[in-house]
Symmetry: none
Subunit: 159 residues, 2 copies
DNA sequence: GTATAGTTGACTAATATTGACCAATGGCGT
DNA sequence: ACGCCATTGGTCAATATTAGTCAACTATAC
């Protein structure tokens, strides 16, 4: 049994491929009927899959002529991409957040698999060192890892 | 008695051979039932065998329709190549030696420029942290950097 | 005999799905 | 203009389902 959420996510991604635009529009109720689910399921898909972390923004309007519009974030300059990445990583980052971000970046073709691997190895090394070798607090470890991650991603964007 | 961990490891490796893909997907609970063990045993196998350092990445999701996906980025790690890395890098390494090694590897086409960049950034970060943030001796810093370098090169299985 | 690796299970955390209730918008009748 | 109300999307909480963590215990290797 396939996951409803993933099915709807794929459907929306296919829409993006078809229109070849930076945005797609849809009607929540219609989409829910297509997939035979409650309308709020669509909100769940948007909230969990089409987030800024994954490079999307969502606009919507209620009432008559209501709609949902999904925008794919684009960058005109490398600096914009860097600042977006820095926003997402933030001051500190959990191992889980970091891994998810890397998966997304690979998914979007920003990172090669081998590059993702190198970054994960470096983060893990920092974690190992901070937790066992030295006795760094979890907060500071996540701060250090955020800094390392930002540096590595920054270097790639500029290369 | 063959170890459960090794048995499950072989099972997953066989899956890779069968599907001839870069990734395989599992359900933790199913796998545990196949081998008649507790689910957390699967986590142990993943943690100890399918690590980034060995060229694998693991993605997973909890909840409904949860899964575990193992990605094989690099593999076929011949023991002699790995020990070769250990020999070249050694116990400690200076920044200069590291740079020279990376330049050579890139010239030989073993490392992509972006991969070299990632490694240099990680080494630099370790150096910065060890010298200014904490107060680590130069010897220990070069030891830590050698360890990091070896881990990153090992993950890519270079010779 | 000690250190390392493997095994187990109780407890924790995250994700997907559903539905009842809430909020906003615009058209239409007055 | 105003207000009703049909229409459209949003929020939240309950529940089921799945994976993760951690620490104690056992087995194996040196």
């Amino acid at each position: 049994m396939a996951s409803l959420t993933r099915t709807i996510e794929r459907y929306i991604n296919d829409l993006f491929d078809e229109v070849e635009e930076h945005s797609v529009s849809l009607r929540r109720k219609e989409l829910a009927e297509i997939f035979g689910c409650v309308p709020s399921q669509i909100n769940y898909v948007l909230r969990s899959r089409f987030t800024p972390e994954r490079g999307y923004l969502v606009e919507s309007q209620r009432g008559g002529h209501g709609y949902i519009k999904i925008l794919r974030i684009t960058y005109n300059l490398p600096e914009e991409k860097i600042s977006h990445i820095e926003d997402i990583v933030g001051e500190t980052i959990s191992e889980q957040e970091a891994r998810r971000l890397l998966a997304t970046l690979q998914e979007r073709g920003i990172l090669e698999p081998r590059e993702r691997l190198l970054i994960e190895v470096a983060l893990r090394h920092a974690e190992d060192l901070g937790s066992s070798e030295f006795d760094i607090s979890p907060y500071k470890r996540s701060f250090i890892q955020a800094e390392l991650l930002k540096r590595m991603l920054r270097s790639l964007v500029l290369s």
